[in-house]
């Protein structure tokens, strides 16, 4: 299989896996040189980190922002960002604990 077929197969595969579909309109014949660029899944690991995303299972507790900061630190990279905030649960917990503490003080 040529580079183009592999490249397009990759695009169609990841699209279908995510539940979407590509219906292509072909305009002109073209070729791609193996001398530059690379198939996305054949990137060097250092490049994969530079051009990578993680489908992260966010733990409960920390904010989305905190989790991203941790990931950034783990990889030792200067930038990282997330898609869509998942707010931390039970913002009220801190408050109810405060209530409990103050009732202790009173008694």
């Amino acid at each position: 299989m040529g580079l183009i077929e592999k490249g397009l197969e990759f695009l169609d595969k990841i699209t279908e896996k995510a539940g979407y579909k590509n219906t292509w309109i072909k305009i002109r014949e073209a070729d791609t040189s193996p001398d530059y660029g690379t198939l996305p899944y054949a990137r060097r690991i250092e490049d994969l980190i530079q051009f990578g995303v993680i489908n992260l299972d966010k733990p409960p507790g920390p904010t989305s922002h905190e989790v991203v900061a941790w990931v950034k630190k783990m990889f030792n990279i200067s930038k990282a960002g997330h898609g869509g905030t998942l707010e931390p649960p039970f913002r009220g917990v801190g408050i109810s604990q405060g209530d409990w503490c103050s009732s202790c003080w009173i008694s």
Binding site: A18, A30, I45, G52, G81
Partner: protein, 260 residues
């Protein structure tokens, strides 16, 4: 709240924002303040199907004006005592906490959200690609200490995965570096495109090898672009491909004109 949180590393930070505006799926545990029978509950949930009006909750990071959001699916998964487990497929920006609260109002007993897990954000789902922080840490450790990168390669997905929900244009090798320098895409640079390319909406530009080059705004519909022989097809917004990876054909052409 747990679940699918796509994280863009380094260069991918630029494009990860485009999954914010894609479809969402949640599993939510609601606690009713009084027991309600199954048939009444099922009937009440029907009210949330289709377009709903929501005012963002007091503690939210957006303007608190009433807005319309679509709920495509709302399914009762389980029902035990005062607890209700539902799956919701909806537009981005739908507040689950609000749905739980409103269900309580409809039933007349009051209710609140107990737990929430996101199971889908656009192209990202709760499948074998979903990893925990611990797995990332383990994969990095393996790679750094013994050079083994198999686990790390399973943890990190190529950036292309995060924009598969967008319409796509595949471009010529000769157009890549010009786009990488911020130029707009002209008609002769187009090799093929998906039929869902719409005028004035987001489109992703790829190389023939399937690498993401940039995000752009299409200026014409797919059918129109297919017929064009010259002119600008898409305005480049966000460049991901670094300069100099592909040859700079456009520069060389300029020089040769200078010589003659």
């Amino acid at each position: 709240m747990t679940g699918v949180l796509p994280v863009g590393l380094a260069n991918s930070t630029k494009v990860i924002g485009s999954v914010v505006h894609s479809i969402k799926e949640y599993i939510m545990l609601i606690q009713l303040h009084e027991y309600v029978s199954l048939s009444i509950l099922e009937k009440a949930l029907e009210n949330f199907k289709g377009k709903i009006y929501q005012k963002p909750p007091l503690r939210s990071s957006v303007k608190r004006t009433i807005r319309v959001r679509s709920v495509y699916e709302i399914e009762l998964l389980d029902h035990f005592d005062k607890y209700v487990l539902v799956r919701v497929l909806c537009d981005p920006g739908t507040y689950m906490r609000k749905i739980a609260h409103d269900l309580g109002l409809i039933l007349g007993v009051g209710a609140h959200m107990r737990e929430l897990r996101r199971t889908r954000t656009g192209p990202f789902r709760e499948d074998e690609s979903l990893v925990r922080l611990q797995t990332i840490s383990e994969a990095l450790y393996l790679w750094r200490t013994s050079g083994r990168d198999e686990l790390l390669r399973r943890v990190i997905l190529p950036v292309e995965v995060s924009i598969v929900h967008l319409p796509k244009i595949v471009i010529m090798d000769t157009a890549v570096d010009a786009i990488a320098h911020g130029a707009d895409l002209a008609a002769p640079g187009v090799v093929m495109l998906t039929n869902n390319v719409k005028a004035n909406s987001k489109v992703a530009l790829f190389t023939l090898k399937g690498e993401l080059v940039a995000l752009a705004k299409a200026l014409k519909e797919a059918e129109e672009i297919a017929k064009m022989e010259k002119g600008i097809v898409a305005k480049t917004n966000r460049v991901i491909m670094p300069r100099g990876i592909y040859p700079d054909v456009w520069k060389r052409r300029k020089k040769s004109i200078g010589v003659f």
